[in-house]
């Protein structure tokens, strides 16, 4: 029978404990009352005695690590001494446990009702405000235009409705204007959209646009990408053979062709990790995708194993999800190379910043009448050196002119 | 006993006696109010102890007029305090039970029975830590020895080996309860004897008290350890002005009045030739004048200003010693 040895609570205030030293190792037999570990809590080192007799099967928390009280730190097999204790495969030691962030309680289902009283009641501060603004509280309460008791916020709302059109109120928020200032500027006047717009123009007040969370992460990743040592290769491609149409666009074709080419260059399927590379078997190609004001970088996985039609469909699905703001983490991680196409806007050539964690981005320009297209390759120099980069570009150039290959792709689409 | 010492005893005891008789009069006139605890009958303990102890910190209970006078505090300032005047020794904020003069190492009366015992222990600890030899005299009544704080204090004093002379003035009554009805041990010094040397002395005999205290002082300062003296005495008045003291039989009172410490002192002094009637007459005159002067001073002194209500609550400064 297995028995979990838990991090003990030595004192009323102890929340976490640190294993200073294991006095027993896996496979050791332990008598009841024997000291098995030394634990530090609240600056004191205390001995942990075994409450049971048995064999230590696994040690879950290594020396120097800290865990919360009540968490298992070892597993024992109870019972008499066994001659050859089974020792399971060396287990993974528990990672430093995360302190669980307290979650707020679930929202109220029945939210508390506002206190309601017959006309004539107001908070002291609401009365002060009403007096300042020359509002007759009782009259308005009797007319049903103010609730009773009236609070400061009710008066503010009342003032807003009284002096501002709904559209003007929206602008008020966008430009972060002060209600008080406007009421002073335009006393006793209904303020509408036009009046407000004229006002902000005259005063030169900027409109405040919040940075979206997507944009925030993009900004942070861009800055990280920018310090990656990189270089560019500029080349003109002849894409006249590619029979793209509305359904399967040039971008879809390029994803497929690049993905296939990546199969011959493992460094294009790699990511860099401190002292090693991780090389993925399949070609996972990212796509720079503008949706509204945002830039997304979803990934089409295993491009080498997918048909053009499948790719086209997947790109459309990803775009839809991006538009609906429901791209998952799976949808955006794992690419090693990204394609960014600005050709449809008539841009001839440009270069792009490698998305953080990837090794290459291909910036695709406009396809000219004769099918000539500028493409700029940006490589992570730590992973792909110039020689490999050049070979990859050369390979790709040849591939787009390979009639049989293109025919095969079209057929298989 | 030297002549000068006897003269000093007589002067201080007579001053205490006359001062307190006058206090009683002024209380009845309404010039003094609140609690007024008179030590009439206990002067031998108070004077003998303070004079015998000499230099050193003094912690007292609430019956402390005579102790303050013996320590040398100006009768004018004490009377003014009793009158609640701004010129009083505690600016009129303390009253009869709270006379303080740290410049004379007089740490006052305390209105809570036994509360000042740990103060004396702490004070002695501090003196010892600072490398001073001076001991601390702590006076309290028989009632205090039944309080837990008493046992805490004698335990700590003995444990920490600090020079405190615990002087218990046993006047047999804790307000109206006789010591036999409140203490399991009739001999109060037995309560301390296992912790420190303890002895009993006749508290009506100023010479006996004096000699015992001088010995004890030598002991505590030489060994840096505490000492206990129980002095038997009697208060001729009630516990305070509100107490007629009629729980005591006239016979008992009469018996102790025959042992009035001032009479005993004079009898001894005349017998030994330490004092002449002329000397006594001169001292009496001087005492009478001093008491009269004290009352006049108190009467003519101003009341504290209303602002005084809010002063002396805190120092309002920070010590600049710790950088």
């Amino acid at each position: 029978m297995d028995y979990e040895v838990l991090m003990p609570q030595f004192s009323d205030t102890m929340e976490r404990g640190k294993i200073v030293r294991w006095l027993k190792k896996e496979g050791d037999y332990v008598e009841k009352g024997e000291v098995i570990a030394e634990i530090e809590a609240e600056k004191a080192v205390m001995e942990l005695q075994s409450f049971k007799r048995g064999t230590i099967k696994r040690i879950l928390v290594s020396e120097g690590q800290e865990v919360e009280v009540g968490k298992p730190i070892a597993i024992m097999e109870l019972g008499e001494r066994i001659e050859k204790p089974k020792v399971e495969e060396k287990p993974k030691l528990e990672e430093k446990p995360k302190v669980e962030e307290k979650k707020p309680p679930p929202p109220h289902k029945e939210t508390e009702k506002r206190i309601e009283l017959p006309p004539g009641f107001a908070s002291p501060y609401a009365r002060l405000l009403a007096k300042e603004k020359g509002i007759d509280l009782k009259e308005l309460q009797e007319e049903g235009r103010l609730t009773s008791p009236t609070h400061a916020k009710d008066i503010e709302e009342f003032e807003k409705e009284r002096y501002f059109t709904p559209k003007a109120l929206e602008l008020l928020r966008e430009y972060e204007l002060s209600l008080e200032d406007l009421l002073k500027e335009f006393p006793n006047k209904k303020i509408d959209e036009d009046l407000l717009l004229a006002y902000v123009e005259q005063k030169g007040i900027p409109r405040r646009v919040p940075v979206s969370s997507v944009q925030k992460s993009l900004i942070s990743n861009l800055s990280k990408s920018f310090v990656v040592p990189h270089y560019h290769i500029y080349e003109v491609f002849d894409l006249s053979l590619i029979p793209w149409d509305k359904e399967i666009t040039l971008t879809h074709w390029l994803i497929k062709i690049v993905g296939d080419a990546m199969q011959f260059f493992e460094r294009l399927r790699a990511v860099y990790r401190e002292d090693h590379y991780l090389i993925y078997p399949n070609s996972n190609v990212g796509l720079a995708m503008a949706v509204g004001d945002e830039l997304y970088n979803p990934v089409i996985k295993e491009v080498n194993r997918k048909s053009l039609r499948e790719i086209a469909q997947e790109v459309r699905e990803l775009r839809k999800r991006a538009e609906e703001g429901r791209l998952s983490l799976e949808d955006i991680k794992g690419a090693t190379l990204t394609i960014s196409n600005l050709g449809m806007f008539g841009i001839r050539a440009f270069d792009a910043v490698i998305p953080y964690g990837q090794v290459c981005i291909i910036a695709v320009g406009m396809q000219e009448g004769d099918g000539k297209t500028h493409m700029t390759f940006t490589f992570d120099h730590r992973v792909i050196n110039g020689f490999h980069g050049a070979l990859f570009v050369k390979h790709l150039k040849e591939r787009v002119l390979d009639k049989n290959y293109i025919k095969m792709l079209k057929k298989g689409a | 006993m030297s002549q000068t010492l006897t003269e000093k005893f007589y002067y201080l005891m007579k001053l205490g006696r006359e001062f307190e008789i006058r206090c009683k009069e002024e209380y009845l006139k309404g010039n003094i109010s609140g609690f007024l605890h008179l030590a009439i009958g206990e002067e031998a303990v108070h004077v003998g102890a303070v004079v015998g102890f000499g230099k050193g910190d003094l912690f007292c209970p609430y019956r402390e007029h005579v102790l303050a006078l013996a320590r040398g505090i100006d009768p004018k300032l004490i009377m003014a305090e009793l009158f609640g005047k701004a010129t009083g020794v505690s600016k009129g904020k303390g009253g009869s039970m709270h006379l303080y003069e740290p410049k004379m190492d007089f740490y006052g009366g305390n209105a809570i029975v036994a509360a000042h015992l740990p103060h004396a222990v702490g004070a002695a600890y501090a003196r010892k830590l600072m490398g001073e030899k001076a001991g601390v005299l702590c006076i309290f009544g028989d009632g205090a020895t039944n309080n837990g704080t008493f046992f805490e204090a004698i335990n700590m004093a003995s444990l920490w080996e600090v020079p405190v002379l615990f002087l218990c003035e046993n006047n047999y009554y804790a307000i109206g309860t006789h010591v036999s009805r409140s203490s399991a041990l009739k001999d109060l010094y037995l309560k301390a004897r296992d912790y420190m040397p303890a002895e009993v002395v006749d508290g009506m005999d100023v010479f006996a008290v004096y000699e015992a205290v001088v010995r004890a002082k030598q002991y505590i300062e030489e060994y840096g350890k505490p000492y206990f003296i129980e002095a038997h005495t009697y208060r001729f008045e009630g516990h305070s002005m509100a107490d007629k003291g009629d729980y005591r039989s006239p016979r008992e009172l009469e018996m102790f009045r025959k042992k009035d410490p001032i009479d005993l002192l004079l009898k001894e002094a005349y017998k030994e030739g330490w004092l002449t009637e002329e000397q006594v007459r001169l001292i009496d005159q001087k005492v009478e004048a001093l008491v009269e002067e004290a009352v006049e001073f108190a009467l003519s002194s101003p009341e504290p200003s209303e602002e005084e209500l809010y002063t002396d609550l805190s120092c309002g400064v920070c010590s600049d010693v710790i950088p």
Binding site: T150 | D57, G94, A115, G122, C318
Partner: protein
């Protein structure tokens, strides 16, 4: 830095720089303190300055008073505030009064430190919050510390003062790790605004500050209610000016404390606000406090008896809704 280490650092600093500073209490010396606050001081400064006392609370405080009268600067530790009840005579009748009754002739450079509050299942006699007992006594200063910065600087300030200070700590804070920095001119008499806000002023102290902050974070994220959180570092005197200034802005006051609601510190703060700022109030002041019960042993019941972040959040939310926010 751990809260207990901050206190230890302050004691160490004071003892190193002023030979008159002594520490006394139960188990503070050889043993190192029951909450390890005095750890290491015994070895460094010796038994004469780090004094182990018998279990005699009244005389621990009493002897500290005697030491202070003679010019030492004692820092006494009462193991928990619950045991301070045995020493109330010394706190209330002696420590708080001697200076005043002597017409300013005596002064007491004295600190009594002690933890209070609910830790974990210590039951009724070890779980109380009694700050209002001390904060209602003229002649005492009452400081408290909610993190390592206020613990270090507050305690050091208390030791520097020539007046008696009751220094309250919270049992659960000892093991908590807080960012630490040396603050120039730290003033315990000035309340700290830990979070700025515009809708509600939330006043708290000791451990409840952290629970209130958590609740206010949720209120801001989920309900768009912006709270200003004020941490009191002195409970006598209370820095009412900072509270007034905040309430003049928010028009709403909430006080969060662990002691039972009745006659607690929140009663005082609410009453002052009602007296001084009645016409500025947009809602009745709200007290979120402990239940009117002794603290029970059972963990579930124990948590029911005191405010938690969840309860604080819900109470503020429903109160805001009832009163037109």
């Amino acid at each position: 830095m751990l809260y207990r280490d901050a206190l230890n650092l302050a004691l160490d600093y004071a003892m190193e720089h002023d030979p008159r500073v002594v520490v006394l209490g139960e188990d503070v010396g050889f043993y190192g303190g029951n909450y390890r606050v005095t750890d290491g001081l015994y070895v460094k400064y010796g038994a004469k300055r780090v004094i182990d006392t018998p279990i005699a609370e009244n005389s621990i405080v009493g002897t500290a008073i005697g030491m202070a009268l003679m010019g030492l600067r004692p820092v006494a530790e009462i193991m928990t505030v619950n045991f301070a009840m045995l020493a109330m005579d010394q706190f209330v009748n002696q420590m708080a009064k001697l200076r005043y009754m002597s017409g300013g002739k005596l002064f007491l450079p004295l600190v009594v430190r002690m933890p209070q509050g609910v830790a974990k299942q210590l039951a009724s006699q070890h779980s109380q919050s009694l700050e209002h007992f001390f904060a209602s006594v003229p002649g005492l200063y009452v400081f408290c510390a909610s993190d390592s910065i206020s613990a270090y600087h507050g305690l050091l300030h208390a030791i520097r003062m020539d007046d008696p200070v009751v220094f309250l700590e919270h049992t659960l804070l000892y093991g908590m790790d807080f960012p630490f920095e040396y603050v120039k001119n730290f003033d315990p008499f000035k309340a700290r605004i830990l979070k700025e806000g515009k809708d509600i002023t939330v006043v708290s102290y000791l451990k409840m500050v952290h629970d209130a902050l958590k609740a206010c974070e949720w209120l801001e994220e989920r309900d768009g209610i912006s709270c200003e959180v004020i941490d009191l570092t002195s409970l006598r005197p209370i820095d009412f000016e900072t509270i007034y200034e905040s309430v003049r802005k928010t028009h709403r006051l909430v006080v969060v404390y662990e002691a039972p609601k009745t006659l607690g510190l929140g009663a005082e703060v609410s009453a002052r606000i009602s007296e001084e700022l009645f016409y500025y109030l947009d809602a009745p002041p709200l007290r979120i406090a402990g239940e009117e019960v002794p603290i029970p042993y059972n963990r579930k019941l124990e948590l029911r008896a005191i405010p938690t972040p969840e309860k604080i959040y819900e109470r503020i939310l429903s109160w805001s809704k009832s009163h037109g926010l």
